[in-house]
């Protein structure tokens, strides 16, 4: 069993859990994920690692309550334990000295991108971070983002107070300055729709754009094939070849988005969790 050692509510329906799992903490790298099972009747669900402490043997992840398992997780407190906690899975995010890196975050990405930003910072990159949240109340984890980034752009759906209305507007402004203010790389950990839009925005500029994809997974160790997607015209499996992919090489975004929501009605209880025009609803 894997004990919960800390539980913090970061924003309405947004939680951070800290789990004792020394074997996972020992090998964790930025951009990797874990698969957990709450109890013997639970499902296997992946979560991107947002922090870890090798000394204490703990691993953190942040999640938003959207469905059955995340609601159940939200009810866990220190003293409770998880049946299973496997990781670190997937390939770590690519990190090198690129120059100016623009990253785009929303949802759990606000926390899960932090280890990647840290590593990019250590490599001497200049970091511009666009943070998207539906509104200021649902914003969280600002401090490390501000500390690590040279510039933070808040895209919180409200104009004024130095905030942008939307991520795409912010991105468009940055791209308009390119190459005067050169962008060397874009990394996105946000909604699938937004990652697709961003990839199309950067494509004409030839700016390498890495996306962190989260297809449905079952085993997460390269056995079941649920998380397959077409990248550069070949089948890739997000759990072993990803989850980070070159957004310009991902083909079949629509299929990917449809597959993402196969189980939306079974697993997701939250009303209003629905993309406009989604094929699955």
């Amino acid at each position: 069993m894997y004990p919960i050692v800390d539980h913090e509510v970061l924003a309405p329906r947004v939680h951070r859990l800290r789990v004792k799992a020394p074997v996972v903490a020992e090998k964790a790298k930025p951009g990797q994920f874990v698969i957990l099972i709450i109890d013997e009747k639970g499902e296997r669900v992946p979560f991107t690692i947002s922090d870890w402490d090798t000394g204490a043997g703990t691993v953190d992840f942040v999640f938003i309550e959207v469905g059955k398992t995340t609601q159940q997780l939200a009810g866990l407190q220190p003293g409770d334990a998880l049946l299973s906690f496997i990781g670190p899975l997937g390939r770590p995010a690519e990190v090198d000295h690129y120059g100016h890196v623009v990253s785009v975050l929303s949802g759990y990405g606000l926390a899960a991108m932090v280890p990647i930003l840290k590593a990019l910072k250590e490599k001497g990159n200049t970091l511009t971070t666009i943070v998207q949240a539906p509104d200021p109340e649902r914003l969280f984890g600002q401090k490390p983002l501000e500390e690590l980034s040279d510039t933070v752009i808040w895209a919180l759906g409200t104009k004024g107070d130095g905030m942008m209305e939307s991520t795409t507007v912010a991105m468009r402004k940055l791209l308009n300055q390119h190459p005067r203010r050169r962008i060397d790389r874009v990394i996105a950990m946000c909604s699938l729709c937004l990652m697709r839009v961003l990839s199309e925005m950067t494509r004409p500029y030839g700016i390498k754009t890495m996306v962190h994809l989260t297809p449905v997974m079952v085993d997460g160790t390269g056995m079941c094939g649920a998380c397959r997607l077409s990248v550069g015209r070949t089948n890739r499996f997000a759990c072993v070849h990803g989850p980070e992919f070159d957004g310009h090489e991902v083909d079949g975004w629509e299929v990917l988005m449809a597959r993402r929501c196969t189980y939306a009605d079974e697993s997701i209880l939250q009303q209003g969790f629905q993309c406009r025009g989604c094929s699955q609803w």
């Binding site: 009747k41 496997i86 990781g87 056995m223 094939g225 077409s230 089948n235 196969t262 094929s279």
Partner: protein, 493 residues
């Protein structure tokens, strides 16, 4: 006819051969379409006695030679003939820790029963059913009979993967006195016995009971631990372990590579079976893992896994289930028994056709597939008849769920993190006839070596490797020959 010659070695007293093989009761076709309970119900003691009495105890023991793990078959049947079931169980346990599994899923018709002297008359002793009977009897008796354990050797072994191959090596080496740690990536032990083979063919309680038995031999089971991630193979060899057995099993599923294969509701057999069996989606919502099932399901492939998937689909409520196979019935790799079970359950077989595309309903769900008719070529030098498409014979079949069951490629996690482990161009680990890999102190077996075979062949490979490992571990050398670092560096750089 050579049977008279063959039976010369039989007991001196002349006895008439009994060719009435005793049937095993099964759930009715109608009933079992609606549940995941075991289809075959097993012999009663009366039926088992009757079947055991048919064995003529021939001297040659061809059945034992036909068994990949060399079970003393005539001896356990003799014990049954003496009505000593406990002794029969002891005999079984000398050579297998998984009798309840083997009695159910081994292809006996190609092994022990194929070799049985009575098979010359077309009625081999139902060895598998008797094995199953003994295992099930023992399970009701409380504590299982324990083998004689060798004193501790002080040697420590890591076994990677707790499927049939890993369980066999772990129990063999534990009985021989070695300390065994058994690593499993998933949250339960058993590998394909848990995620792959369905409940109605192999109840999971039976697998877990046999896993517990292996643990009771002193094997230390570590779940949720992925070798190649949490520890590299080199870390295992460098730290605690004198030797390692690799049996990590199947890897990424194979697909056809035709348009539309990633549409929604196109599953790999691995995903379909993992959801259903391992995660118990057939008991959703009591179990949290769902599985989406349509009304018209096509299963692509002709192996046992395809039969399992098709039969799961029936039980999950599909109205029509098609098995699509590009050769004919005669070439199907699935066991005849499974094909018959599938047919009884109403599954329709489409032979000599192959999908060329999957078509969308306009919302990225599969709605139909395009198939092309195939014909078999004349036999080539190897005697094999290849299926080739008949141009212009394409047609459309409406389906709303597809399960692709074309096998898997070996799990790449360990080879990709172990540069000096030789693999074939298909990614399977290369071993010699004793199960040794190219890397010192490392043996391998199961699907990582074969690319995909049967439970019993994986166990057989384990048995051979365990003997080789034991020989290595007991030959007196101390912590031996660390793979020469100089050499390693050359290869990795």
């Amino acid at each position: 006819m050579t049977d008279e010659k063959e039976t010369k070695g039989a007991p001196a007293k002349k006895q008439k051969l009994n060719l009435n093989r005793v049937d095993m009761p099964k759930q009715s076709e109608h009933e079992r379409r609606h549940n995941f309970d075991e289809v075959a119900l097993g012999y009663t003691w009366e039926l088992a006695k009757e079947e055991a009495s048919r064995c003529i105890q021939c001297k040659k023991r061809p059945c034992q030679q036909g068994c990949p793990v060399n079970i003393d078959i005539p001896d356990f049947i003799a014990a049954l003939q003496r009505e000593d079931i406990e002794e029969a169980a002891k005999v079984l346990k000398r050579k297998t820790s998984l009798p309840g599994v083997c009695g159910r899923v081994c292809p006996q018709e190609l092994q022990c029963e194929e070799a049985c002297t009575l098979n010359k008359k077309g009625a081999p002793v139902a060895i598998g059913r008797l094995e199953r009977f003994i295992a099930d009897w023992e399970r009701t008796q409380g504590t299982p009979t324990m083998p004689e354990m060798a004193p501790s050797t002080g040697k420590k072994v890591a076994v990677v993967g707790s499927g049939p191959s890993g369980l066999t090596v772990a129990s063999d080496l534990a009985i021989l006195g070695h300390q065994v740690v058994l690593f499993e990536a998933l949250h339960v032990a058993g590998g394909v016995l848990m995620y792959g083979i369905p409940q109605f063919r192999l109840p999971k309680e039976i697998v877990q009971r046999e896993v517990q038995y292996v643990q009771s031999l002193g094997v230390d089971l570590r779940l949720n631990t992925v070798i190649g991630i949490n520890y590299s193979l080199d870390e295992l060899l460098r730290t605690d372990y004198d030797a390692v057995y690799l049996a990590p099993g199947a890897g990424l599923p194979k697909f056809l590579g035709v348009p539309g294969e990633n549409l929604n509701m196109v599953y790999s057999a691995n995903e379909f079976l993992t959801r259903t069996n391992l995660m118990k989606a057939y008991r959703y919502p009591e179990y949290a893992t769902p599985i989406k099932m349509g009304k018209k399901v096509a299963v692509i492939g002709g192996g046992n896994v395809a039969m399992d998937a098709a039969r799961c689909a029936v039980r999950l409520g599909a109205q029509e289930v098609y098995v699509i196979y590009r050769r004919t019935r005669a070439e199907m790799p699935a066991r005849l028994e499974e094909v018959e079970n599938a047919e009884e359950e109403g599954i329709q077989f489409h032979f000599l056709c192959n999908p060329t595309a999957f078509l969308s309903d306009g919302r990225n769900n599969v709605a139909a597939m395009e198939l092309i008719r195939m014909k078999l070529t004349e036999p080539d030098e190897s005697g094999r008849r290849r299926p080739v498409p008949i141009p212009g014979s394409e047609y459309i079949l409406d389906v709303d769920t597809v399960v692709v069951s074309l096998g898997t490629s070996p799990n790449p996690l360990i080879p990709s993190t172990t540069p000096d482990l030789n693999v074939t161009r298909w990614g399977t680990v290369v071993i010699d006839e004793r199960g040794r890999t190219s890397k010192a102190r490392v043996w391998a077996g199961g699907d990582i070596v074969s690319g995909g075979a049967t439970v019993i062949s994986a166990m057989g490979e384990g048995r051979i490797a365990a003997a080789s490992m034991h020989e290595y571990l007991s030959n007196g050398q101390k912590k031996i020959i660390p793979p020469s670092p100089a050499q390693d560096d050359d290869k990795t750089q």
